[in-house]
């Protein structure tokens, strides 16, 4: 997983219009660009679906079907029509959530995705919470001590987070904490013993077990979550700490900070109330972006931890040449990604008074 750096943080001057309709048109522009991006995503997946050297008809009827059946299915799938018409049909199906049937599980792909998504969501959410709780104070601390040893240490911790292969870190974590020290449970979301004890309501085991009052299950789920969430959280921490530091440095060099200090305010108040208060808005967008990256980054982590989420579903379908599932999963993760991007842009525009 890679965390893209600054190129997508919105610039401070974006969307400066006093009239309300100017603001509305900015929002409309944003929504239009999101729609374009979504169309692009479906177009790319459509092309991928066409590039694969598997005959989609044979995938349905099998290679022993008669010529007549073959032709009938070919017509049913709309493969005789021009490409743009095929794309139109494909788009309609995608919007309805019809991704076809998974060859592997022989259920509708959407059904599978709904089944597997909560595990990914749980993992990414806990990881983001960890990243925010640790990353923001680290970034602030580094900025306050700019150029000193603390700053360098935090910078290196961040760069290490950018440089370590997530799947490898997961394996080493399992080796050390599970195999050698026996402090944490192994792969999976729950021990076998606890599997199926809690009726899935939200699909998030932590939430479900609390709702059911099954504290033992909660404990077990939590202990399973610790390692993958910490490892994913580390990546989000690296990104958040780095961005927090740079936002804080920008604020701390402003004159109102000097004024506040001259007035005799305590250093803590100057840093947290004055400077940090002003970094909140860009930070929200950073957190939203890092959340999007984690949803994607969970592909490799889930593979290592046998975590039954969307990422593992995609990779497993991939190995079984189950293209419907791969493309469906790609569109869903891609849409979440695009949606979170939009959300971070909108938040920025709505929350920051200067952007209005």
């Amino acid at each position: 997983m890679t965390l893209g750096t600054q190129d997508r943080t919105p610039s401070a001057g974006a969307g400066r219009g006093l009239l309300p309709f100017a603001f509305a048109s900015k929002t409309a522009q944003l929504v239009a660009s999101v729609v374009m991006t979504f169309l692009g995503l479906t177009a790319v997946t459509f092309v991928i679906g066409r590039v694969i050297p598997i005959d989609p008809v044979i995938a349905v009827v099998g290679d022993r079907a008669s010529q007549a059946t073959y032709e009938r299915v070919r017509l049913e799938l709309g493969l005789d029509r021009p490409l743009y018409e095929q794309f139109w049909i494909y788009l309609g199906k995608v919007l309805e959530g019809d991704f076809g049937t998974s060859v592997l599980t022989s259920r509708p792909v959407l059904h599978d995705i709904v089944h597997f998504f909560p595990a990914t969501l749980e993992l990414a959410t806990v990881a983001t919470i960890l990243g925010v709780l640790l990353g923001i104070p680290m970034g602030v601390w580094a900025a306050v001590n700019q150029g000193r040893a603390t700053d360098h240490v935090i910078r290196v911790v961040g760069l290490v987070g950018y440089s370590v292969p997530v799947f490898w870190l997961g394996m080493v974590g399992l080796l050390v904490f599970y195999a050698k020290l026996d402090m944490l449970p192994g792969p999976g979301r729950l021990d076998l013993y606890y599997e199926g004890l809690v009726e899935p309501v939200t699909g998030l085991i932590l939430v479900d077990s609390v709702l059911a009052g099954e504290w033992e299950v909660f404990d077990n789920a939590l202990s399973h979550l610790v390692l993958p969430a910490t490892i994913l959280g580390y990546f989000s921490l690296a990104y958040i700490a780095r961005m927090t530091r740079s936002f804080m440095l920008e604020q701390l060099s402003q004159e109102y900070i000097t004024t506040a200090r001259v007035k005799g305010l305590s250093e803590r108040r100057v840093i947290w109330r004055h400077a940090f208060g002003n970094t909140m808005v860009p930070l929200i967008t950073v957190v939203a972006l890092s959340y999007a990256y984690l949803l994607e980054g969970s592909v490799l982590t889930e593979t290592v931890f046998a975590w039954p989420g969307l990422g593992r579903y995609i990779t497993q379908s991939l190995f079984n040449a189950d293209m419907n599932a791969v493309i469906g999963g790609t569109i869903v993760v891609g849409s979440c990604f695009i949606g979170l991007n939009l959300l971070s842009d909108l938040l920025y525009k709505f929350v920051d008074p200067r952007a209005k």
């Binding site: 490898w168 040449a321 891609g334």
Partner: protein
């Protein structure tokens, strides 16, 4: 002409350093060398960047001198020596087919550089062309090109690369193509931004007045000025490219066995993780070290070449 003669008198014979630091370089070559030297001086003051440079140069040397640094070709199997722990004979132990892991790491440096280099060779020209054309011509062309760029910018990289490779079939070249497809867009953005700032500057006007064609202005005058920021970005991206390639290799979608690709090595080592830890951990350390090297170097380069973002 006057500038030329003056510089000839100022360049005093105090050796290479003076020649490099001359205020009035006598030739484009001297100016270029001088700039590189200044960059090196600035980089030298940054210890972290030096470590990064050291690692990257080390990787290059490892790849170049692989035949002299190893005793085997990293592919031949010695089934009698399966899964030996690290020792004097096998520094990092051997894998499940008796191949020396140290040798495989050294040969793997070539594959890593091959992937990274190929991605760079595809991504930089594509980004430069799209960005400079969009920025210089403006108008509708700009709008269309940037819309496309934005679409690619908003894609989830790894997932899309996964889907691409699964469609095209596993292999190094396809992995490179997939990574390139999801990496080029920020370069177009950067090149466009740079182009817009220099588009209306006087020397471009001068070139235009002299009758230079658009193509000539773009490639003779605009592109060279975009290069430095594009190269910084590429250095910073290298780690990401290496990690994505390793991730694809780990999933079995990148380089295929028996090639000693580091990600794929981790993947096979996973089966022996509990008892023969070295099979999987050593290649991971190699990936980590190399991407850290690129990150440190890129960070340092950005500080040197782009003083605006020195604080970030």
């Amino acid at each position: 002409m006057s500038l030329f003669t003056r510089s000839a008198t100022i360049v005093n014979p105090q050796g290479l350093r003076a020649w490099l630091l001359s205020d009035a370089p006598g030739s484009a070559f001297q100016a270029r060398c001088g700039r590189w030297y200044l960059m090196w001086l600035a980089l030298k003051r940054n210890p972290l960047a030096c470590i990064g440079l050291f690692i990257v140069v080390g990787l290059l040397l490892m790849a170049i001198f692989a035949p002299w640094l190893t005793t085997t070709n990293g592919i031949e199997q010695v089934l009698l020596d399966r899964l030996l722990p690290p020792s004097a004979a096998h520094w990092f132990g051997t894998d499940e087919l008796g191949r020396d892991i140290y040798d495989r790491i050294v040969w793997g440096a070539r594959i890593t550089l091959y992937i990274v280099g190929l991605v760079g060779v595809i991504v930089v020209p594509v980004g430069l062309v799209v960005g400079t054309v969009a920025g210089y011509l403006g108008g509708a062309i700009d709008a269309v090109l940037m819309r496309i760029t934005d679409i690619f910018l908003a894609f989830p990289r790894l997932i899309l690369a996964l889907a691409f490779v699964s469609a095209l079939g596993p292999g190094i070249e396809n992995a490179v193509l997939a990574i390139a497809l999801t990496t080029w867009s920020p370069y177009a953005r950067i090149a466009r931004a740079e182009t817009i700032t220099i588009r209306d500057s006087e020397y471009i006007m001068a070139a235009r007045l002299q009758g230079a064609s658009r193509l000539r202005i773009l490639y003779g005058h605009v592109v060279p000025l975009c290069l430095s920021s594009v190269i910084i970005r590429l250095t910073l991206d290298m780690a990401g490219i290496i990690l994505t390639a390793a991730g694809l290799g780990f999933l079995g979608l990148g380089a295929q066995p028996p090639l000693p690709e580091w990600g794929a090595m981790i993947s096979t080592g996973r089966q022996f993780l509990l008892d023969q830890w070295w099979v999987a951990t050593v290649p991971g350390l190699a990936i980590f070290a190399v991407s850290l090297g690129f990150n440190l170097l890129g960070d340092g380069l950005r500080d040197v070449l782009d003083p605006k973002s020195r604080d970030s």
